[in-house]
């Protein structure tokens, strides 16, 4: 006995409550027809055990309850990005992105276009039913001119909603795709053509040849307000007029198998250049320091943070530098957070910094309340903060940074003054020599500024020793 039956599905679908053997799709929906063709091809080609299906958002969101392959769900429109990642991290798998017209053609179209342009090695099965099914029949990018939808009740008009998006034709402009075809699920003849196209796309995956894209015109009886037969007729007649069935491209014969993807480096490999700066052995008692530097852009806030992070690296600490600034190069508020630690740093942010340096009043107002009790707050005198305003339980220090820098002839070196203040106060937990070395390094591209900044560092240090006691001292 020869039995033609569905293969490649789970025996039962553990969707909700008790297991079932029927899908969640409406009567006459094209998804089920396509699911059967794909599963049959995966089994026939022997690919089931190494296939990963990327499930979309849309009616097919529950695909993972049905097809018995590896499954992953992608955020709306991002199936192509997830498929890219799968293909690159799991070489040897057959990766399939299964998406509808809302997921692929609207919110995810750029993802699709770029993945196709890169010629990623996976297959895309694109279900075009000319409407948004799951959300209730709204206008889709592929809705036909004149077609009524929940959001185009008078019918789509080119003037208001633009023209239907031809995805295959658009992708056919790209160089990389190996195979692009449009099929239909309207009747037996077309279903058999679709069956062949699916096999072709999967053979291209099996043979490692690259990007294959197959579009399926598919009936959505519910949202078209038709019965299954009428909806199939709509697909065969109305939709095909707008979206002709065609094999746009088949380069599978001449395409060479793609080279194996270069394995992505692990973070430690990626930052291999920093390996020499691994924490000093036996230094686990170094107390992690979280510091924030804030002011307006152009005051050298970000450079100050980099210098301290660099000094941390020179001293064998782990260091992170995390800037936050507006689109302006000068002016606008700018801040950065530096974390120094003996161990790998989890978060580069500091909700409650140990040290806060404020170069102006707005920075003080914004960040002063966040300083950890027992922490240190350093303000430029020009910020005009009075000791009474400083948060309770926080050591408050004023440094005339801008004024000193101007007096020493380099108005822009207020940050060097602050560096000297931090060094004098011992606020960073780093040796003075390392801070000085980092200061030199920050002017590596303008070496003639090194002597003057060193001079400012020394003079500012002298001012601080005269006026400020060491932190905790």
């Amino acid at each position: 006995m020869n039995i033609k039956q569905s293969v490649g599905f789970y025996d039962t679908f553990e969707r909700s409550g008790s297991p079932t053997r029927d899908t969640h799709y409406c009567a006459g929906c094209g998804h089920g027809i396509l699911h059967k063709l794909i599963c049959e091809a995966l089994v026939d080609l022997g690919l089931q055990d190494r296939t990963v299906m990327v499930n979309p958002i849309g009616c097919a969101v529950f695909g993972y309850y049905y097809w018995d392959v590896g499954n992953i769900g992608a955020a709306h429109g991002r199936a192509q990005a997830v498929a890219t990642a799968l293909n690159r991290t799991l070489p040897g798998r057959v990766v399939i992105a299964y998406q509808g017209d809302g997921d692929l053609g609207a919110i995810g179209f750029n993802c699709t276009f770029q993945a196709a342009s890169r010629g990623e090695h996976f297959a895309t099965f694109f279900v075009n039913n000319a409407t948004y099914g799951m959300t209730g029949g709204q206008l889709a990018p592929t809705t036909l001119i004149g077609q009524k939808s929940a959001t185009s009740p008078a019918g789509r008009s080119a003037a208001h909603e633009g023209y239907p998006l031809h995805v295959c034709e658009t992708l056919d402009q790209l160089q990389a795709p190996v195979y692009i075809a449009r099929c239909s699920l309207a009747d037996t003849k077309r279903i058999m053509q679709a069956r062949q196209a699916i096999r072709k796309a999967l053979e291209i995956q099996r043979d490692g040849k690259g990007y294959a894209f197959v579009e399926f015109l598919s009936p959505c009886p519910t949202n078209l307000g038709m019965d299954a037969i009428q909806a199939a007729g709509f697909v065969a007649n109305e939709m095909e007029r707008e979206f002709p069935l065609k094999c746009f491209r088949d380069r599978s014969a001449e395409a060479e198998p793609l080279p194996a993807p270069v394995p992505a480096p692990s973070p430690s490999e990626f930052f291999a250049g920093d390996a020499a700066d691994a924490p000093v052995a036996g230094d686990d008692d170094f107390v992690e320091k979280r510091m924030k530097f804030a002011g307006y852009g152009g005051q050298g806030i970000l450079s100050l943070g980099i210098a301290i992070a660099e000094a941390g690296r020179f001293a064998g600490r782990q260091a992170s530098w995390f800037p936050s600034y507006g689109p302006e190069q000068r002016g606008g508020s700018a801040s950065c957070t530096v974390v120094l630690s003996a161990k790998s740093i989890g978060s580069p942010d500091a909700t409650h910094p140990d040290v806060l340096v404020c170069m102006n009043r707005p920075a003080f107002e914004r960040f002063a309340p966040t300083v950890r009790p027992g922490g240190l707050l350093i303000c430029d005198t020009l910020a005009g903060v009075t000791p009474a305003e400083a948060p309770a339980g926080v050591r408050f220090v004023q440094v005339p940074a801008t004024e000193l820098a101007e007096k020493l002839g380099v108005p822009r070196a207020a940050n060097t003054v602050m560096l000297a203040a931090l060094a004098t106060l011992g606020a960073t937990g780093l040796p003075r020599e390392q801070l000085l070395a980092a200061l030199d390094a920050s002017f590596a591209k303008k070496p003639k500024l090194i002597p003057v900044n060193r001079k400012i560092f020394e003079e500012a240090g002298a001012w601080c020793r005269e006026h400020l006691a060491r932190a905790g001292g």
Binding site: S6, R21, A228
Partner: protein, 85 residues
């Protein structure tokens, strides 16, 4: 889970086997059948739709009903091996 299919066709001949509880009554198989040997049943299934049923003879085992059916487990096509026919 699997209810015994109610087909009634001659087991020595090709025949569709319809699991009527999984049928949603869309009628795609009926429209696709080149021999017009499928029809809607006169009674309702557990989903309260009239499922497809085989008239009992005339099936040529083409499989069109299977490929047109959107449900994975609603219809199978059984074709006897040639030597046993």
């Amino acid at each position: 889970m699997n209810k015994k299919p109610a087909d009634g066709g001659d087991k020595s001949l090709p025949r569709p086997v319809i699991h009527e509880d999984y049928c949603k009554g869309c009628g795609r198989c009926i429209a696709a059948c080149p021999k017009h040997v499928l029809r809607f049943k006169s009674t309702l299934n557990r989903r309260s739709v009239k499922p497809a049923e085989y008239v009992g003879e005339g099936c040529i085992g083409c499989g069109f009903c299977f490929y047109n059916c959107p449900e994975p487990f609603a219809v199978e096509v059984h074709t006897p091996d040639k030597k046993t026919r």
